[in-house]
Amino acid sequence: MADSYEPGAVPDGPLLEVEDLYVEFRTRDGVAKVLNGVSYHVDAGETLAVLGESGSGKSVTAQAIMGILDTPPAVVTGGEIRFHGENLLAVGEERRNEVRAEGVAIIFQDALSALNPVYTVGFQIEEQLRVRQGMSRRDARDRAVELLDLVRIPNAARRVRQYPHEFSGGMRQRAMIAMSLALDPEVLIADEPTTALDVTVQAQIMDLLKEIQVERRMGLILITHDLGVVAEVADRIAVMYAGRIVEHADAVSLYRTPGHPYTAALMDSLPRLDQKGSTLNTIKGLPPSLLNIPPGCPFHPRCPRAEDRCAVEVPPDHRLGLGRTSKCHFAEELVSRV
């Protein structure tokens, strides 16, 4: 299981599956290797959290799945993205467009800029229903109100005629969620859905997402850098660093015993109530430039556990039990220590 995908399992394979994905950004300053063999999958009714710092490639993976990378500079140079076993990178633009929103939908971090400022929220929801499902204006309007109701926007019938800038941040994100649900997608990608919001609103949005996901048995890919958010909702967690997945595990085991020094460092850097007064632990150094990824293990310059071999040998996936992998030479040791 996990990201080691067995050939032959295609027909009943996972709902959405990314395998060995490579993406480059070809820029004036050189080629940035943004994704370097990313693999993950998500099934119906399951939540996969993708965790990482900014620049780790988590959003790029999501954009690659949706087929909305800015090309140029982005180029997919290898790998597959399979939805119900069908490689989306190999199909035509028309088929790709069918999968968008109906198969896989996405919500973005900044709902204000993600919504078109000159159209009403209602128009932007109805647009999909009218274009994709051939609904009449009136039916689409009714459905849009229902959807806004569903995401608990009060006064939906009035709100549907308002513009994005007339919504508050939380309401805007709710509208964005309503929009993503319009065509009943099987997978929802939430790209940092709560980062731009107040803490209290964050919790409400997460609850809403979780509730909708359970109700509709959707696969949810939750992209975030916030470990706190992940703990509550994720079934499985993929930790990304420098364009690769360095650890992949079920949420419980990952929290109990991190299998990668980077995961451990991330968890250490969370402020803890039981250690009040002590200084916060931070990860020393900076994430690597993707134009120039360090040889060997990309984390080694910042890793407290690093040895000489880490600067030379690229660590392979170490299997740590059911569906659990870590790209660290000392993975087994790290896990067995506890």
């Binding site: 950004f25 820029t27 004036r28 300053d29 940035a32 800015d70 500079p73 982005a74 900076l286 430039s289």
Partner: protein, 320 residues
């Protein structure tokens, strides 16, 4: 212009990529010596062929304007009616005008008047506009209201119309001598154009005023002039300077238009616009009298517009 096609190809900015390449930028903006907007822009500019071509043309024009005698030994005012309207030849590269004066020599000596008007008008416009703009932006309230309304009054006058009316006054007042005439033209251009510079400066100042460091300076009790000069001005200069560069080209064209209408410069301040105006009635028989000064005029305006474009792109982080 040597090869604008290739020049243009290299200038379109690379979009999108910078947002993703994070680490080196973190380091640069760290505690070490920060790269300023200007040094960044300069690094960017040096790589733009458009900027280099425009810069070279402008430097050459400046040299011609300052040292015309390096480029011709012919007296631009020497008349020889026997050569009247003669076409270009080895003796006179650009031919002769109606009164038998050497067109090449006149073009060379005309550069200084043309550039003088363009440069002074641009500087004066930016000075007036920036002054009122920053005051309006910083103080707001009724001062802003007053300055904005006055700006609108001048803005409400279409440029050519306003200039005609103002310069007509000057003509009636019988001003003579090259410099007073130049000043009249410069002043009328600036009087009609400052509201644009004022608006640019005003909105930049309003934006800068909202910044935390300005609020902090105010909270610490810094005086208004100190905040304006120390904090606002350096952060508001870029857009108005870009405007000034592009306007310089536009003002050179405006001077030519006014001279063409017979209300701009006139003898003894013979700019290219005056030459074009003098040649207008002979375009059919002696087009060289019009085409050479017009060609120089176009190249000059082009150089300033290109320079302004390049600087704007370099200063705009969104485009970089």
């Amino acid at each position: 212009m040597t090869d604008p096609t290739t020049a243009a190809a290299g200038t379109a900015p690379d979009l999108g990529a910078s947002a993703y390449v994070t680490a080196p930028e973190h380091q640069m903006s760290g505690p070490g010596k920060p790269r300023s907007l200007w040094s960044d822009a300069w690094r960017d500019l040096r790589r733009r062929p458009l900027f280099i071509i425009a810069g070279a043309v402008i430097v050459l024009l400046a040299i011609i304007a300052i040292f015309p005698s390096w480029f011709t030994s012919v007296d631009p005012n020497h008349k020889d009616l026997s050569h009247s309207r003669e076409t270009p030849s080895g003796a006179a590269w650009f031919g002769y005008d109606l009164q038998g004066r050497d067109v090449y020599a006149r073009v060379v000596y005309g550069a200084r008047w043309t550039l003088l008007v363009g440069l002074s008008a641009s500087v004066l416009t930016v000075l007036i506009g920036a002054f009122f703009g920053i005051i309006a932006g910083y103080f707001g309230r009724w001062i802003d209201g007053l300055i904005s309304r006055i700006g609108e009054i001048f803005f409400g006058l279409p440029f050519v119309l306003g200039a005609i009316v103002i310069l007509n006054l000057v003509r009636n007042a019988e001003i003579r001598g090259a410099l007073p005439i130049v000043f009249a033209v410069v002043a009328s251009i600036a009087v009609l154009s400052w509201p644009v510079a004022m608006r640019i400066m005003r909105s930049a100042a309003i934006t800068a005023k909202q910044q935390d460091y300005v609020k902090a300076a105010r909270a610490l009790g810094a005086s208004a002039p100190r905040i304006i000069f120390k904090h606002l001005l350096p952060n508001c200069l870029a857009p108005v300077l870009v405007y000034g560069t592009i306007a310089l080209g536009a003002f050179i064209g405006a001077e030519a238009t006014l001279s063409f209408l017979g209300i701009g410069l006139r003898d003894p301040a013979v700019s290219w616009g005056v030459m074009i105006s003098d040649a207008r009635n002979y375009v059919r028989v002696a087009p060289h009298m019009l085409l050479f000064p017009a060609g120089f005029l176009t190249a000059t305006v082009l150089a300033f517009v290109m320079l302004g474009d390049a600087v704007r792109e370099a200063l705009d982080p969104k485009l970089r």
